[in-house]
């Protein structure tokens, strides 16, 4: 029995190692000089330097403008998404909405669309409107994945709120909008916060739309990773530093929301798939 526990523990530690390895190794690489990166065998002991971070933040290939781009795109996407998703999710979860099943199914279907099927028409549409490489253009496209996702995630949180609460508010003739504002929203604060985190995270990590529909003005941090790769040479240490700096926000957000991550990832399938 002792042996069995030891084997299990080793297996668990091994799997933790495999999952964390690229990130940990990326962190180590970001602290190496370009010379140390290319050492063979790969070195674990080396003199750490913050030079790469200084370069990617304040040097000639600074990714600060890209971080700003990402913050603007993700922030705007999140704000617009929540503005439309909260009322829609409330109607879908708590009110007598006509064609409710069909409406819910439609929202779910829009969540399944392969992005490459959208990026081609958007390339032509935004070009026609003169909206390529603009914030409004990219935010519009980001709504295609953020909005359906947010609606379904919020529906699952709204459904958890006890009905008596809003019934009491409605009996007080508080009006439906006031009931939503003063009763439902405060109750769903946690769920709304989680939704905000996920929408922001998904927007931050997006790549295909950003690389095709962005440009020199709107160049998000995921696209900026390729600044450090060219045909002649790749600056691995700087790339690693840029990746760590670019991913720090989502890693922090992910750790904050870790308890909710399973729910956030399975949403839609649980509800939209009908019976459990």
């Amino acid at each position: 029995m002792k042996l069995r526990n030891a084997v299990l523990l080793v297996a668990a530690v091994l799997m933790m190692f495999v999952w964390a390895f690229p990130v940990v190794w990326g962190l180590l690489t970001s602290l190496k000089t370009e010379r140390d990166v290319l050492a063979y065998p790969p070195s674990v002991v080396f003199e750490p330097t913050l030079g790469n971070y200084a370069d990617i933040l304040f040097g000639a290939t600074s990714i600060l403008p890209n971080l700003v781009s990402s913050v603007i795109v993700s922030g705007l996407t999140t704000a617009v998404t929540m503005l439309f998703a909260i009322p829609a999710a409330y109607a879908l979860s708590r009110l007598e909405l006509p064609f409710k099943r069909g409406a819910g199914f439609y929202v779910l279907a829009t969540q399944m669309l392969p992005p490459v099927g959208l990026v081609i028409p958007y390339f032509l549409i935004l070009r026609g409107m003169g909206w390529t490489d603009t914030y409004q253009g990219l935010v519009l496209v980001y709504l295609t994945f953020a909005l359906p996702f947010a609606i379904w995630l919020l529906v699952s949180y709204f459904e958890e709120i006890p009905r008596e609460m809003e019934e009491a508010a409605l009996l007080d003739r508080a009006g439906r909008l006031r009931a939503l504002w003063y009763v439902i929203l405060p109750q769903a604060k946690g769920g709304i916060a989680v939704t905000v985190i996920f929408v922001f995270l998904n927007s931050w990590n997006e790549f295909l739309f950003a690389v095709v529909l962005g440009g020199n003005t709107v160049r998000t941090v995921t696209v900026a990773m390729f600044n450090f790769i060219s045909l002649e040479q790749t600056q691995w240490a700087r790339l690693a530093a840029a990746a760590m700096a670019g991913m720090a926000p989502v890693i922090v957000l992910g750790l904050i929301a870790q308890k909710h991550i399973v729910k956030g990832l399975t949403v839609g399938a649980v509800k939209g798939g009908g019976r459990r």
Partner: protein, 291 residues
Amino acid sequence: MTNPRKGERRFALALFLPALLLLVATTTLPLVYLLWTSVQRIDLSMPWLTGFAGLANYAQLGGDARFWSSLGLTFIYTATTVVLQVVVGLALALLVMQVRVGQGLLRIAAILPIVLAPVVAGLFWRSLVLAPDFGVMDFLTRALGLGSYNWLGDPQLALLSVIAIHTWQWTPFAFLVLLASLAALPPDIYEAARLDRAGPWQRFWHITLPMLRPAIVIVVILRMVTALSAFAAIFAATGGGPGTATEILNLYAYRLSFTELNLGYGAAVATVLLVITLTVSFGLFALRRGR
């Protein structure tokens, strides 16, 4: 005095319609435009040829060996990554159920790959793990006496590598969902089975697996949709290459449209992918509802 039910319906519509209209405008209309594009000849490198092409783009698919190969790769990529994620994820979840200590740490490690942008995951693997000469994988195989390999440069190894990257990134998802469902199973059933002297295999086949079925189906549906829309990690690791060795339909449609600037034909390929994705997901949903 208006009917309160009627009032509620009107209120519900007023709340739902803005989002609905926005979704129609941002997703459905562009898809209609995709279909329209797919029956056009739009080649930005030869703009003078632009015009209605009827079904010519679709007819061209039939004789396009690169299309059939990318369709096959999409199938291989989706099937292997989904099966691997479910099998490995389930095995790990069963294992971790036995380990009482350190589950919090495990969850944190599991979340790291999930929150990472796929493009960064692809770059990390390309540079740190699979790069020839200084990558960790090469160090391992050399240390084990297996020799040095060009993981992303050899066509077959490259396909294996992008499958490994996708599996690495998304197995934690399957693991976390299945772990949560395992933890929610009622313990008394196992007690009863033990009293009936059911062995561990019997318990797994006749109790655990059937009770996990709904969770497994969810995982399969979501993982399939993700695998079918996979793009950034492959783009970052191999760019679809070497040659077309890792060019799944997403990559092919992208390269056609934005490298070769043949948007009409790219739209036709994307439409095929769209039809496959929607058929597969609705098929799985229907299957699930039928049970």
